[in-house]
């Protein structure tokens, strides 16, 4: 990856719907060059997916989200990978990470109600082999997601002219 790739990735991360023509102007390269670079980045898995940052609360969806902390006994030869792989298969699991510190796996789960999440944790996650302990934290409010601030600030007045 070079500087030009980095610029393209930043631009796509910010808005993946930016037209190729505009990307070419912004990144100072030809449209063909943009297309072939993006193709290469997609093939290499540097670009995983194109999506939108959705404020579900604002969209009117009453989904509940929670962060789960799991303490897990790792397996010989596999460590945390196999158990993580099993957890990742649940569609309720939006993200899954291995952490340093007081617990091992951190999961973000979403569901239609608190009740559904509680059921998912107690019936699906907690009973799994090698899971020693779970702690569930309900998300009360999201202020910032993937670099995007949700709360709106008042615009500061600026002069229309200055030298």
């Amino acid at each position: 990856m070079d500087e030009k790739d980095r610029i393209l990735l930043h631009l796509l991360e910010e808005n993946c719907r930016t037209p190729t023509k505009e990307l070419a102007v912004l990144a100072e390269m030809s449209e063909e060059d943009v297309k072939s670079r993006i193709g290469r980045l997609e093939a290499a898995g540097a670009i995983r997916r194109y999506g939108a940052v959705v404020d579900w609360e604002r969209a009117g969806d009453g989904n509940v989200a929670a962060v789960l902390e799991l303490k897990v006994s790792p397996e010989r030869d596999f460590g945390y990978d196999r158990i993580a792989e099993r957890i990742a298969r649940f569609p309720q699991v939006r993200s899954l990470r291995l952490m340093t510190g007081a617990y091992d796996l951190q999961i973000l789960v979403t569901g239609p109600s608190m009740h559904e999440i509680a059921r998912f944790v107690s019936e699906q996650i907690a009973p799994m082999d090698r899971i020693r302990e779970t702690a569930t934290h309900i998300i009360m409010k999201t202020y910032k997601e993937n670099g995007t601030t949700f709360a709106e600030r008042e615009e500061v007045e600026r002069l229309p002219y200055s030298f």
Partner: protein
């Protein structure tokens, strides 16, 4: 009652765009490309440090020259980024913005009757400051065909036995023009031959997009006859903090310090603490802003040229300076009609010097969405006057 206004104050011409202000004030949806300041808010780490310092009670005067920590940080910063060496004790003064730095620099070296050359088009304060100091401002043109660089030929034509100094601002407001080492060498020979001083305002130095900024004081023959001015407003998005600095050999710095201590005492302490923090940990955010300006420049200049408003690619600062010759209008007519009809504010180039005539200054320090909207409105405007 007699007229108390001094002849010097009376002689300062009124702002060339006062009426533009008044027109813009009546509109709700103006896209302003008229303002020479970043749209970014100061990096949060910088604001945070200043807030904390106020909570801790840092609200007093500092040393006239500025806090020792900030001067030391500026000295290291200039060495690392621009290869210029200034001693933090003897050769640096922290000022209330570069505006004050320019004023005290000019006053420190100008005697009544001295001619001071000002490379134009340029920021509007240099010539009045020269006049207020009793000097005679003489403008030197930087032309579009030279990519708005200062040429030795133009400079030579303006030098007389009374010439004392040259004021230059590169990267340039309003043209975005820059001067590379080779360009400065030609100028340096003339300055040495005629024993002239250089006041180099480099407040846009960090905003250089193709290659690195060249600070003229790096040339040994210029260092001893150069006052370098820079500040935090543009690069670190800190316009409202009012922190700039002046760097010069000890004798000049000492003279400027005498003026500074009487007119300003010291720069605001909150701003100095913020500026120190900017140098300590704000560089990554500065670099991110510079990358964003470059994207905006590419987008906007491409758009202008497609509209037939010919524009050289500015290599520095955050201004595009397109020619409006293709419209058959003067720059003042163009700027006024564009504001009235499409609510886009730009600054007519002639306000910033005779060589700016026929051009308008568009600051691309606004979001890319606003730049696209401005281009769309300009397209509508151009269509309407065909």
């Amino acid at each position: 009652m007699r007229d108390f206004i001094s002849a010097r104050a009376r002689a300062i011409p009124p702002s060339g765009i006062r009426r533009f202000f008044d027109i813009a004030q009546t509109m709700e949806d103006v896209i302003s490309l008229g303002v020479g300041e970043p749209d970014f808010v100061t990096p949060w780490c910088v604001c945070e440090a200043s807030i904390y310092s106020i909570e801790q009670g840092s609200t007093a005067y500092t040393s006239n020259k500025g806090t020792p920590q900030l001067r030391a940080a500026i000295s290291r910063y200039l060495d690392t980024h621009f290869g210029t060496r200034y001693d933090p004790e003897e050769e640096i003064i922290v000022t209330c913005g570069v505006s004050e730095a320019a004023d005290i620099a000019i006053r420190a070296v100008t005697d009544p009757g001295d001619e001071v050359l000002v490379a134009e088009p340029c920021y509007v304060s240099y010539t009045p400051c020269v006049s207020l100091a009793g000097g005679v401002p003489v403008t030197v043109p930087c032309r579009a065909e030279d990519e708005f660089r200062l040429t030795p030929e133009a400079l030579a034509e303006s030098i007389t036995p009374k010439t004392k100094a040259l004021i230059a601002n590169f990267p340039n407001n309003p043209t975005g023009g820059v001067m590379q080492e080779a360009d400065w060498r030609g100028i340096a020979d003339l300055l040495v031959d005629h024993d002239l001083l250089l006041i180099s305002d480099e407040v846009y130095g960090e905003l250089t997009y193709d290659g690195n900024h060249f600070s003229p004081a790096r040339l040994p023959e210029l260092y001893e006859r150069t006052i370098t001015l820079n500040g935090f407003s543009k690069a670190f998005a800190m316009t409202g903090w009012r922190i700039g600095y002046l760097c010069a050999p000890p004798a000049i710095t000492a003279a400027a310090l005498k003026i500074h201590q009487y007119v300003a005492l010291c720069a605001p302490v909150m701003g100095q603490i913020a500026a120190y923090e900017a140098l300590r940990i704000g560089e990554a955010e500065k670099d991110a802003m510079v990358r964003e300006y470059r994207l905006r420049r590419n987008l906007f200049v491409d758009g202008l040229n497609k509209l037939g408003l010919t524009c050289h690619v500015p290599k520095g600062a955050f201004y595009a300076f397109p020619s409006v010759a293709s419209t058959g209008m003067t720059d003042v007519e163009f700027a006024e009609s564009l504001l009235r009809e499409q609510h886009v504010a730009v600054v007519p180039g002639s306000v910033l010097g005779p060589s700016g005539a026929g051009h308008v200054r568009c600051a691309y320090a606004v979001s890319r969405d606003d730049l696209k909207e401005a281009l769309a409105r300009m397209a509508t405007f151009l269509e309407s006057i065909k």
